[in-house]
């Protein structure tokens, strides 16, 4: 690998945000014809480093060399013109514009005829592009907000590829994609590599990183720890060690088997049906149980989570909180009867980003904090502080905006908010999505503590290993149907579960 040409080199790059040193003296060589992974915990500086390469942020000091010539991207367009394109973590398509308009955003000039945009030609060009990537079923004239999250992400990928980049930055895009989308992205990445281009690949999925990459650079606290060639037969554990800087001392998944779950039923789900999404779903949740729900993204399990919380209505069937004999009909009623729900879309549905940690944690528990009288900021802060301590949230102070926290700490705030509300049942939809190993371990041990104190947990997840490792019982969904119900078992393997998914 070392004999390949260095296409882009960053040298002693530094970037500070307000008071945090996000990237410190980073020097990395990216070569042509390689998939170069960038890994590290949340907040280790991966995204900041790549954001400087593609012109979103400017470095405070240091230089970059593009084909051995000094180069600093002034903005994203400048970077694009120099062959650098990026797929970012956030949704980057524009609602209420058509698919074609989104694909050619910023390149409208190519379609101008007599001072006006030739929409027909643009839409034809978009069709051709879509067809090239095997996406004939997408109509280029549809409003992009009508497409699924995944399809929009795929449009973003196509849009980036359409500028024919020499360097493509893929920032945690795979977490948003199902297997189909991932396969498309992988084939695009491989194709680029074949043609001697470079992919900078950020992912939390270490298995994926090892499988797909030629080189892996590990970052920690803004610094480059090491760059390793994958042919050296790296293992996941070695990478984890490099990321954290020490061996994982905490246990990761649960290690106990054969724990007795109480016979008490706390939640009964009966014949829940939602046309085209959920098909006659019936199951029971026991007291102090971790019940896993697994499947593909589109299998209906995320929608089921919302139904349990009253955030989405089922056409048929009921969800009943057993000991209160209460049928869940809306969110306030679900909360009143002890149900809590942590959404999969953290930044959109779980957190108020431009509000303090305290405000976020207190929001569902205002009744408890105020009693009958007025709310006192002091009481709110004491309440929030206790929650923050329970989950060990890394913060400046309790009044700090959630916006400034790293992904893992944001998720801890979302958890703290509901744990402090002291629910009996907590529904977690992908609680560890896009989160580093350390915070994952903290969340797992928190779940352990919760079930010990008698709380029942429903964990919805796309990661089968996590479900197998954590749950007392695992339900598998396929196309809206409950297809398997498996008790916790040492012998249960990922392969067995995956058979039911497909």
């Amino acid at each position: 690998m070392a004999n390949k040409d260095i296409i882009i080199r960053v040298e002693k790059l530094c970037k500070t945000f307000v008071t945090t040193r996000a990237v410190v003296n980073a020097t990395v060589d990216f070569r042509s014809g390689e998939i170069h992974a960038l890994i590290g915990e949340n907040g280790s500086g991966k995204s900041t480093l790549t954001s400087m390469m593609c012109g979103i942020n400017k470095p405070d000091s240091g230089t970059m060399f593009l084909n051995k010539k000094p180069f600093i991207a002034q903005d994203q367009i400048h970077a694009n013109e120099n062959g650098i394109a990026a797929l970012v973590q956030e949704m980057n398509t524009i609602d209420h514009m058509s698919v074609a308009e989104n694909i050619f955003l910023g390149r409208e000039n190519e379609f101008i005829k007599l001072g006006m945009i030739d929409k027909k030609r643009m839409s034809r060009a978009a069709s051709e592009v879509l067809e090239k990537y095997g996406l004939k079923m997408i109509n280029p004239n549809t409003d992009i907000s009508r497409l699924s999250f995944e399809d929009r992400k795929i449009i973003e990928i196509i849009k980036a590829m359409n500028t024919d980049p020499k360097i493509l930055i893929v920032d945690e895009t795979t977490t948003a994609l199902s297997q189909k989308g991932r396969d498309l992205l992988y084939s695009i990445m491989n194709d680029m590599r074949e043609r001697g281009n470079t992919i900078v690949f950020i992912s939390h999925d270490l298995q994926e990183v090892i499988e797909k990459s030629d080189a892996i650079t590990v970052m920690r606290d803004g610094e480059i720890v090491d760059t390793i060639e994958v042919k050296d037969k790296t293992t996941e554990d070695e990478l984890k060690m490099l990321m954290i800087g020490r061996e994982l001392s905490q246990k990761y998944y649960r290690s106990d088997y054969g724990r007795l779950v109480s016979d008490d039923i706390v939640l009964e789900v009966k014949n829940v049906t939602q046309e085209g999404v959920l098909d006659d779903v019936t199951f029971e949740l026991h007291k102090g149980e971790i019940l896993g729900i697994g499947g593909l993204t589109s299998c209906g399990m995320h929608e089921l989570g919302k139904v349990l919380f009253g955030a989405s209505k089922a056409q048929k069937g009921s969800v009943t909180v057993t000991h209160k004999n209460a049928i869940v009909k809306n969110i306030p009623y679900a909360i009143k009867n002890g149900i809590a729900y942590i959404s999969k879309n953290r930044d959109q549905e779980s957190l108020m980003l431009i509000s303090s940690i305290s405000d976020n944690i207190c929001l569902p528990s205002l009744d408890r904090i105020s009693g009958k009288g007025l709310l006192r900021h002091k009481n709110e802060n004491i309440f929030a502080q206790a929650g923050a301590r329970k989950l060990d949230i890394k913060m400046e102070n309790i009044e700090q905006y959630v916006f400034y926290l790293s992904g893992g700490n944001k998720q801890k705030v979302a958890l703290a908010k509901w744990i402090c509300e002291e629910p009996d049942i907590i529904v977690m939809d992908c609680p560890t999505r896009g989160i580093d190993v350390k915070v994952k371990a903290a969340i797992y041990s928190m779940m352990d503590k919760m079930v010990e104190s008698g709380i029942s947990i429903i964990m919805i997840s796309e990661e089968m290993l996590e479900l197998i490792g954590m749950c007392d019982r695992l339900l598998v969904f396929n196309k809206g149907k409950l297809v398997a119900d498996m008790p916790r078992n040492k012998e249960l393997s990922e392969e067995t579960v995956i058979k039911y998914l497909i």
Binding site: P332, S350, M352, L375
Partner: protein, 315 residues
């Protein structure tokens, strides 16, 4: 990422007070005889209270991400009805009718927006046009005049007392009640508020009720101060929105550093200083608006640094 907030708190406060002092000193030097006397300052102080109470009401709507163009017309409408009631029932009827009518109209305003599912900006303009016209049906369209002895709340110190009480009520409703926090949560992220079990429409309606309460108090101060109130037509009641709206922006701009009601009051004071100052200098009304607008932009730009660091999209 981390941020130091303590330091910026003090800076923002100093900035706000600093602007106030600079504006005052400037006009006092330029117009020492007409402007720089205790009497003028006292009058400005009283006037600032009136628009600030209305601004405090509007603040509840704006913080939710909604907008209310109708406050001016509600002010006039409730004032006329309250004034008419005052002629028969004295202070009790005056206060109760004005406030109840203002609250009722704000409830209608909120319901219109929620039922029609149309942007609040549009429904409130519709309501404004309806209210302006209906107001002419009372007392043959002559509006209403209050006797001197009924105008207690237009005089010092009573206007300052009722204004302060209004601002304190707003401050408590906003910062220390569950509904206040729910209203803030809706403004911050409606989806999150919903999933935290907040009944969003109910909380929004409470925002409108709080707004109505304060507009009602403002209306009492307004008619007591002026003595007469006539129906406004052809959208002219929008004119009454400007001063409260500007005050509201001050409150918003400093909301993380200063109790927004205090921010609104100081903002209202600065605006009144400016307009009165320019008036005593004999500056043309058009130029007055231009300068007032510039000061607002300047102050807001200087204080919104935080959100710019965060790449927040301002709409």
């Amino acid at each position: 990422m981390k941020i130091k907030r303590d330091n910026s708190n003090l800076k923002s406060r100093l900035l706000l007070v600093g602007v106030m002092v600079v504006v005052y000193v400037t006009f006092a030097t330029l117009s020492p005889e007409r402007f720089a006397n205790a009497n003028t300052l006292y009058i400005i102080f009283q006037q600032a209270f009136m628009s600030s109470v209305i601004a405090a009401g509007l603040y509840f709507i704006i913080i939710m991400g909604l907008f209310d163009f109708a406050i001016g017309s509600i002010l006039v409408f409730s004032g006329i009805l309250g004034g008419l009631a005052a002629q028969h029932t004295g202070y009790a009827g005056f206060i109760i009718v004005t406030i109840v009518v203002a609250i009722a109209l704000e409830i209608v305003n909120g319901l219109l927006y929620m039922i029609l599912k149309v942007p609040s900006m549009i429904t409130s303009v519709g309501l404004l046009m309806i209210l302006e016209s209906i107001a002419t049906f009372f007392n043959d369209g002559c509006g209403v005049a209050l006797e001197y002895e009924m105008r207690l709340f237009g005089r010092a110190p009573y206007n300052i007392i009722i204004g302060t009480v209004g601002l304190i009520i707003a401050s408590i409703l906003f910062g220390y009640t569950k509904k206040g926090i729910q209203i803030r949560a809706i403004g911050s992220n409606e989806l999150v508020a919903r999933s935290a079990g907040i009944r969003v429409n109910q909380a929004k309606l409470w925002g409108y009720i709080f707004c109505g309460l304060l507009v009602g108090i403002g209306s009492i101060m307004n008619i007591s101060y002026g003595g007469k109130l006539q129906p406004a037509l052809n959208l002219s009641s929008i004119d009454r929105n400007y001063a409260p709206l500007l005050g509201c922006f001050f409150g918003l701009a400093f909301k993380d550093q200063i109790n927004p009601m205090v921010g609104i009051l100081i903002g209202g004071f600065i605006i009144k200083l400016l307009t009165t100052g320019l008036m005593t200098l004999g500056v043309d009304a058009t130029i007055q608006s231009v300068l007032t607008g510039f000061v607002l932009l300047l102050v807001v730009a200087l204080t919104m640094r935080n959100s710019r660091d965060m790449h927040v999209i301002v709409k």
